[in-house]
C-alpha cells in the first residue's frame, strides 16, 4: 500500500478513489435489490417478505431432539434456542381464561340476580329484636375489610390486565387501554404482597373457629337449609362460612405465591414455572372473584341482619338463632346479650324499637 502511494501522484490517487466510490454507489442499489427476498406469490404488491431464517428456526423447533443444548452461558434456559412452551402458553391463555372469564362472571351475576328474584332477601323468623350479641372484635373487622378492599383492587386491576385487550380496546381504544394497563400493572404488583400479609392476618385471626365440628357435614348436605325441610344447625361459623374461609385462605395463598413468582422473574425460575404460575394465578383469581360475588351478596342484601356483623361487630340475637343456633345457646348461657339501649349507647346511636329494627313502620 505504501509503495502504491509512492509510485502515484496525489491527484491520480484521488481520481482512483473517486472512481472506486462511484462504482460502489452505482452497484449498491443493484446489490441491495439482488439481496432482497423475492416477492411472495400471495403478496404481489410486495407488502410482506418471507423471513429467510424461518425454515431454519422451524426445523430447530420441530426437530426430534432434546430442547435444551449445551452452552457456556450461565443462566436459566440459556441452553434453549427456541421454547415452544411460550407459544402454547400464550394460546392457552387466549383460548381459556381470556375467553371464559367474562362468561363465568356474568353467569355468577345472573345466578345471583335470579336467586334474588325468586327467593328475595333471606329473612329472620320474627324479625330483628334489637338485642345484640358481639360477634367480631374491632381487629377482626379491620382484618376482614383490609383483605376485602385489597382483594377488590387486585380483582379490578387483574381483570383489566386479563381482559383489557379483548374488552377495553374496542370500547376505549389502544391509548386508554395501554394507560389503564400500565397503571393496573403497577398497582397490582404493589398491592399483591399486601394481600398476602392481610391473608396471613386473616388466617391467624379466624382459623381456630373455622375448624370442622360435628354437625357441619349435615349443614353442607342440606345446602345450608335450601335442600329439604327443617332447621339446619350451625355453630359460631356454619359450614358455608367455613368453606368460604378455607377457600379464601388456600386459593389466596396459591394466588399469592404464584403472584410472587411472576413478579420476581430474576429469581431463577424458568419459563415453564412462570407459565404454570400464571395459570394458577389466573384460575385461582377467577374462582375467588366468582365466589366472592356470592359472598358479597349473602353478606349484604341477601340475608337480613348479616351486614351488621362486619359493620358494628354485633349481630341480632334472632339472627344468631336463625343461622347459628349452637352459638346462640352459648351466648344465652353466658348472658352475653345486650339490650337495644345498651347497644345504642355503646355506638352513640339512638335506641331502636324492635319495629324500627326490623324495618316495619
Amino acid at each position: 500500500m505504501v509503495e502504491f502511494f509512492k509510485k502515484h501522484s496525489l491527484g491520480s490517487t484521488i481520481l482512483l478513489l473517486a472512481a472506486l466510490l462511484l462504482l460502489i454507489f452505482l452497484l449498491l442499489p443493484q446489490a441491495a435489490s439482488a439481496a432482497a427476498p423475492q416477492q411472495h406469490k400471495d403478496f404481489p404488491q410486495g407488502v410482506s417478505a418471507a423471513n429467510p431464517g424461518s425454515d431454519l428456526w422451524r426445523e430447530i423447533r420441530q426437530r426430534d431432539l432434546p430442547v435444551e443444548g449445551i452452552t457456556q452461558v450461565q443462566g436459566v434456559d440459556s441452553g434453549v434456542l427456541i421454547n415452544s412452551q411460550g407459544d402454547r402458553w400464550a394460546r392457552f391463555r387466549i383460548d381459556n381464561p381470556v375467553s371464559y372469564t367474562p362468561a363465568i362472571l356474568l353467569a355468577v351475576i345472573a345466578i345471583i340476580v335470579l336467586f334474588y328474584a325468586l327467593r328475595g332477601k333471606v329473612g329472620i323468623e320474627g324479625g330483628l329484636s334489637g338485642r345484640m350479641v358481639k360477634r367480631f372484635t374491632d381487629y377482626e373487622r379491620v382484618v376482614h375489610w383490609t383483605l376485602a378492599i385489597v382483594f377488590l383492587f387486585l380483582a379490578i386491576t387483574g381483570l383489566v390486565l386479563l381482559l383489557g385487550r379483548t374488552l377495553l380496546i374496542p370500547l376505549f381504544g389502544h391509548h386508554v387501554f395501554s394507560l389503564l394497563a400500565s397503571a393496573s400493572k403497577e398497582g397490582h404488583n404493589l398491592f399483591g404482597p399486601i394481600f398476602l400479609v392481610s391473608l396471613i392476618m386473616m388466617l391467624l385471626s379466624f382459623a381456630r373457629r373455622n375448624i370442622y365440628e360435628k354437625g357441619d357435614l349435615t349443614w353442607l348436605l342440606k345446602g345450608g337449609g335450601f335442600i329439604g325441610k327443617g332447621h339446619v344447625s350451625g355453630g359460631f361459623f356454619n359450614m358455608g362460612e367455613k368453606s368460604w374461609y378455607w377457600i379464601v385462605i388456600l386459593v389466596g395463598l396459591a394466588i399469592s405465591v404464584s403472584g410472587l413468582i411472576l413478579v420476581s422473574p430474576n429469581l431463577g425460575q424458568g419459563r415453564v414455572i412462570m407459565a404454570i404460575s400464571h395459570v394458577v394465578h389466573v384460575f385461582g383469581a377467577i374462582v375467588l372473584i366468582a365466589i366472592s360475588l356470592g359472598h358479597m351478596y349473602m353478606g349484604s342484601i341477601g340475608t337480613e341482619g348479616s351486614m351488621e356483623a362486619m359493620k358494628s361487630g354485633y349481630v341480632d340475637i334472632n339472627w344468631v338463632e336463625a343461622h347459628h343456633d349452637r352459638w346462640a345457646r352459648q351466648v344465652k348461657e353466658n348472658d352475653e346479650i345486650l339490650s337495644a339501649e345498651e347497644f345504642a349507647r355503646l355506638h352513640g346511636r339512638k335506641p331502636e324499637s324492635p319495629d324500627t329494627a326490623t324495618g316495619k313502620s
Binding site: D138, R141, T146, L179, S182, E186, F191, K311, G313
Partner: protein, 213 residues
Amino acid sequence: MIEYLIDGPLWYFSLAVFSVGVLWQLARILFSASKTDLSVARGSASSGALRNVFSRFIPHHEIAPRIRVQVIAGYMFHLGLFALLFFAAPHVLFLEQNLLGFGWTPMPHWAFIVASQFAFFGLLILWLRRMLNSVSRLISTLDDHVAAILTFVVMLTGCLALLKGFTELRLLHRFTVELLLIYFPFSCLMHTFTFIPSRAFTGAWFGRRGIDA
C-alpha cells in the same frame, strides 16, 4: 391546556397556598395569647419539654396493649410516607430540578416498593380502625376522613404512574398533590408541623409543675 394548568399556574398557586397557609397557622399558634404562669416552678420546663417530645414516641405501658395495632400501623404509614416523600427517585429528581437545585441519593427501587407497601397498608388499617371502632368513629370529623382519603389517593396515583410512560398518569398524580397542598394548612394534616411543638408545650407545662407523665 390541562397539562399547562396543572404543571403551571395550579402548581404555583397550590405551593403558595401551602407555604403561606402553613406559616400563617404556625404564627397564629406561636403568637396566640396565653396566661403567664405565676406559680413557683417545681421543675425544669425545658427538660420536661425535651423529655415529652421523645417519650411520646413510645406508647405508655398501661395503654400499649390496647393500641398495639394503631401504633404499629401508625409507624408503618408515617415512616413509609416519609421515605416515599424524600427518598423516592422521582421525588428527589423533581425537588432537585424544580425547587432546591440540589439532590441526594434516592433509595433503590425495591426499597421504594417496600416503603409504599408499608405506607398503604398502615394508612388502610388506620382509616379502617377509625371507621370500625365505635368510639373512634364518634370522635372523628369529616376532616379526618378527607385527609386520610386524600393522602391515600395521592400515594395511589403516584404508584400508578410509576412506569413514567404516560403524561396523563403523571398529571393525575400532580393534580392530587396540588389538591393536598391546598387542603393541608386548613386540616388535621398540620400535625406534620405541630406535633413536636405540641408535645414540647405539654411537656414544659408538666415539667414546670413537676409532673412525671
